[in-house]
Subunit: 252 residues, 6 copies
């Protein structure tokens, strides 16, 4: 049950991450074979729920990509369920304080590090037998999203919470909370300065910083900058973009 | 219940057609908004069945695109069901003889033109009330696929079957049946000569010829050549292609 | 595994039958509790497929109603599957000849009466253990639909086919095939005369005649006339009718 | 993305609202065509979850009705998800205090009015491009349910919370909390007096009052009284009521 | 709507309980016919969500077993929904304090005992008409899980909360929280002493104690010991165990 | 895309095969990990349809087992669809004549060996790129079921049809057609003599004989006898059997 994202990070490498909004296992399976290091089921803004997440995990695990999830909210029921289903990383939206970060860690880790309930119905069937409960706390990544002004103000306390493996930046919500237009691939200097600060603070603590991107070019630039987990849009966005271009080109 | 594909053909225009393999209404809805004139649910090679077809039709009809279907086989049960669900065109694989073409027309048309059973459970709710049964035979397109050597040998008899509105060419099966490699966007002169013959024979009879394409550029070339219904790959293919390119570009 | 429809018929009673077009077990469950003697899943014109039929059967069997099915077509695969799922009666569309009626009986009965394959995955779990295969041929109703001019011309041969328990008349298709407007609750004398003939011919042979109706009043009249299986519209039709009336009444 | 319910309210008109308990897009689609101004997916007491809500929204949007939702609980995860899916109004059960009302507004509005996270996966595809985030706070209705004695005691503080567009009364829970029998279409003077007070208090503040009704006649009376959003039962209730009547009438 | 589990407890009998992790109504139906007194849908660690729970309830109710549920978390939205769907007992994980136990009772009971909202969409269709709301508070079992050291420390206060009908012990979480290996069928003296204490304390108060077991033999031993609700593994575990044995035996 | 069943047969080994009746990917996934060489989705008597078959294939392919299918009937549409979905073997019921066997081969093989249409939507994504169409005819097993007296009478002609890789015996249908009780694990000498004949005739031609069994012990005996593909019951049967035993043992 070694987590390949964690291994990549240990080796200093950046991880290119896919993002699933379509609640369908076939779609997830085909998309996951495109070369991603990890693929994340987006239960917050994607058209996903718990059972579609399980189905997508099955699709993802038919490829070499590591299955992760963005939960809809920092709530113990759903965090436990997606971990039981086999998530190797939990990205959690709107973590604004150290208390919220500690709660997320509690929900995600078995005792004594946390209060996760035992019963890895699907997750336990992977990896060496009987070993899951012993390695889960180490292998599964806990990744709060940093996407508000409040979170930025509390960033040091959040990052100091034991059990946090990385952070994930949501650029459009972050911009929104600073009174700016909500968008990806920002060039706003104030936001870019925040990115620099986040890279510095995570770097000091040996944890990873991730970022949601709108385009591969921007994602590549952010890898250069030091982000270790970069996502590009989502599968439905790429599909619609490709379809729109195909229609135009076919019409000539 | 006017069929916009039929109207486009009457106006001499080519129709750019989408193709759905993912059995999901949300995916179908988003994809259909990309500008297609029509979108076809592929029940033959797509991961689609009857209920997913109904769901995809709902997604398609939230866009301006005309909903069509490729049935899995020339069988009266399924032809009737997809028409009742609201298909405005039926593309049928592997129609190799005039008898098979006549059967397809029979399954697709109400008496006296055919033997379709009355009960347009969903289709009847669209268009002006009570009118569906009076206009369906005229408005719904019946489109046999021409994709074998046998079909080519019988082409004139097939095209002469009353009720056929067009044909749709499956290039990879056609190539396969001529002992060639099965592929789209063919440049093989023998196959291209068949295309010319099909365009000539359909043109004579005032019916449309359609073609499945692998790329927008080839589709555009085929519109220039005279094809009136061009499809580009399918939505899952476009998505995987875009994802593969995005991963590569992000890695740099 | 006694079939209550069969028992009612033996007692000379008419059966009031529900009709399911919505592919949902909860909807089927609630609707089935409304007092129907039997409820039929309409796989031909309803928005139903095999798995939704199984789900609806579960809903129906939570009420006292007997579960039946209208198959999409006279095809051995689907007939076998719905029987295995627990159908206690099979209504089959468009049976126009004795040969077609014989085929339907073959598909529906175990050897030596027919060629149905053994494997009642769900049906076998009901009734006394191990008994299903011994009683199925007697208890399950085989009911061809008589709904074309051709069928009327062949009616005596069709009714003479051993194993036929009743017929079911589709008024709109019957009218259609006689060049009339396709509708339920017909008053056309030619069609009504056909009903009289069908009641006489089935009566002679001790088998039941059924009819699809658009309104309860007409259904009641047809019970008086001698029909032993009367359906009223379908659940979605009743719902939309009630909703339309409710909206109007609320607006005043 | 203009909200027709809001426009009706501005014009002083009452809105007749449908209510969906059946988790099926086809059923939702047919029901929504019955003439409702808006149709609400009931995720609290209906047999609905998030994915069935999305499916029902697709069905609703194939009619002119405005899609709304009753969320299962005042919880940020689900409020965000249904808004992203395209809800134009959020009815929230059991809002008993101003603090709870403020929380609901926070979950429902983008910054700076609230803390809704950006990512309108399906909602953003409707309305003019890029405009969704700018208009959502104004167009989407936030409607707490007033259905307990506590809520009545706190009503002025609740109604004064900025961002509340209306209230929705649940008569059976309200009666229950006052120690009365839980029922719709109440004639109890104490409850009717509460209705008068609610109409007066909402009227003063220029916001709408809504009510759940059991019959069209009562709904009509309540429109006369001043309620601006009236629902009549739900679709499964209307269906079962109609079915029960049909069975009785058919039996004669 | 008499609850057979409650009746068994009144009669001093132990209840043998099934456990569903597979989100499928057919599987639930077949499994429930195996002789269980009750069958519980496991929404916490099972691959279940709300709609699969409803489907499984339909399957369970086709057998004599009483339908119960383990909710994913102590949260009012989901507790209300599963009760509306027909749960006759609610097992709630991780109840560690009297306050949490009181919250669970509040969510589960109608006024004045609690704050459950009225709308038993499916549950109300069972039992004598109109009676559901009058009997639900008495008939539906509220069963907190006792599975942490904290819960054991607070056990008397928890058990004293009015409305608690029993407790359910999760052995692996309990062991985990005491720093032991998380497992079922424990022989650890410290844990067994806790069992004795729990049996004594529940016995004094006339409420039932339940236990999750890994094997029938251990479950039988625990019945002897005084547990009144014993579960054996879950259906998928039994299936995989049987399959593994079958493969080995077939290979010889 | 090497077929491990084929490889086992080449090596003279028997294959132990699982059988899926539950239409659920999670259930299929867990069951497939139990050690089977191959797992077959039963679309004939199982509660399976095309989309559930695809889901089960995803579950199976998360284990080392080879995915196969029993189609509902010898029909080109469904044979093509399950092959496109990734079936590595097609077991077809009720093949009674050489003509039927030839039809099955035609449906299952690409030109020139057959008439299968090109479009391996999911199957093509496995194995080395672009290679699927070149290897499919060799790697995919075509296995008619021999389960009637007629088939036995035509056995030599059936076995001589080019492209047949093996046969699969359905003991209960075979017994049924000989006027015997339909059951598995038969000891009837007439049927056992037929088994000997089938083993001899298949052996002569170098093709495999398979058998459906009710118990591991009988399956093991049949391996000794020479059968090369043995199935034991199905997953739902094993589950119910295990559950029944567990209930009894728990009660003591």
């Amino acid at each position: 049950m070694a987590n390949k994202v964690k291994e990549a990070w240990k080796a200093g490498k950046a991880v290119v991450n896919g993002w699933l909004a379509i609640p369908n296992a076939f779609s997830a399976e085909m998309y996951s074979k495109a070369g991603w290091d990890s693929v994340t089921v987006d239960m917050q803004h994607g058209v996903q729920d718990y059972l579609s997440c399980v189905a997508c995990f099955q699709g993802i695990q038919l490829s070499p990509a590591t299955p992760m999830v963005r939960v809809p909210w920092n709530e113990p029921g759903i965090v436990g369920k997606v971990l039981d289903a086999g998530a190797m990383g939990v990205i959690c939206p709107m973590v604004n304080t150290a208390a919220e970060a500690r709660a997320l860690v509690q929900y995600s880790k078995y005792p004594p590090a946390g209060t996760r309930s035992n019963g890895p119905i699907r997750a336990g069937a992977y990896g060496s037998s009987g070993n899951y409960q012993k390695t889960a706390n180490d292998e599964i990544l806990v990744i709060p999203m940093i996407e508000t002004k409040t979170a930025i103000e509390n960033i040091r306390e959040i990052l100091d919470v034991p059990g946090i493996d990385g952070i994930y930046v949501g650029p459009s919500d972050l911009s929104f909370s600073y009174g700016k237009e909500p968008k990806l691939d920002v060039e706003d200097p104030e936001i870019l300065a925040i990115y620099d600060m986040l890279l510095a603070e995570t770097g000091k603590r040996g944890i990873a910083a991730g970022l949601h991107n709108g385009s591969p070019a921007y994602a590549n630039r952010m890898i250069q900058k030091g982000f270790k987990l970069v996502t590009i849009a989502n599968e439905v966005g790429l599909m619609v973009q490709a379809a729109t271009a195909a229609v135009k080109a076919a019409r000539g």
